[in-house]
Symmetry: C2
Subunit: 128 residues, 2 copies
C-alpha cells in the first residue's frame, strides 16, 4: 500500500470519485466511486474495484461481464479528492455495450449553430 | 438550452461531477462540480462554469487566471449523473501551474515491482 493513499480526502460517505481512462485510446470510460477498501483492493490486485452506491457493496468491475479493467497507473488531483485510473479495458466499459459510458452528447453549446431541433436526433442516438 | 439537460441527475446538493478533458491531447485536466445554473452558463457561453463547494458560489474557470476553457462538446454518462466536458484549454488547468490537476501519481499497484520505497520520491515530485 502506498503512503500517498493516506492523504486522500474521502467525502462524508467515505467515497472518492474515480475517473477511469483508457490508457491507449485516452477515452474517458466511466466515473465511479471508491471507498478506502475498494481502492486498496484496486492497488493490491491491479484490477478496478469500486463501491456501488445503489447496492451499497464492493464491486469488482468485470467480475460477471468479463470486462475487467487492468490498472496501469493511478493519479490523484491537486485537492486529493478525486482519482484518475488509467486502465487497459477488456471488452467494453459500459453495461449498455458501448465502449464508454459517456456516449450521450448534450447539444446546445453556444458555438453550435444548429442548437434547436437536435434534441430528438440526439435522443434517438442515445437510446441505441 | 438542450432538452437532454432536463434528464440529468443532480445529487442531493444539486451538483453533478464534471470531468474536463483536453479535446486535443485527451489529457484529463480536472474534476469539478456543476449545478444547474453553472451548466446552463457553460452551454450558453461556451466556456466552463462550475460551482465551488468551498466558496459556495458560481465559478467561471479562468476569470481571474485567464486560463479559460472553451467548450467543444459535452457528454453525459449512461446513468446521467456525470458529465464529460471536452475543452480547448487556454494556459494550464491547475492552480498549481501544472497542465492537469492529476499530476500526482499513486504508487503501489500490483504490477509495479518497486512498490516499497517510492513514497518519498513521489511525494517530492508532487510538491514541486
Amino acid at each position: 500500500m502506498s503512503c500517498e493513499v493516506n492523504n486522500l480526502k474521502f467525502n462524508a460517505d467515505g467515497l472518492i470519485p474515480a475517473i477511469v481512462q483508457d490508457v491507449r485510446s485516452k477515452e474517458v470510460l466511466m466515473l465511479a466511486y471508491m471507498n478506502a477498501e475498494s481502492l486498496h483492493k484496486t492497488l493490491e490486485t491491479g484490477e478496478t474495484w469500486f463501491y456501488s452506491r445503489s447496492r451499497q457493496e464492493l464491486w469488482h468491475k468485470g467480475a460477471t461481464s468479463g470486462n475487467i479493467q487492468k490498472v496501469k497507473e493511478v493519479f490523484y488531483d491537486c485537492d486529493a479528492d478525486a482519482l484518475l485510473v488509467m486502465v487497459e479495458q477488456q471488452g467494453v466499459a459500459c453495461h449498455t455495450g458501448e465502449k464508454t459510458c459517456f456516449h450521450n452528447r448534450v447539444d446546445g453549446i453556444k458555438e453550435n449553430q444548429d442548437v434547436q431541433g437536435n434534441c430528438s436526433q440526439v435522443r434517438n442516438q442515445t437510446t441505441d
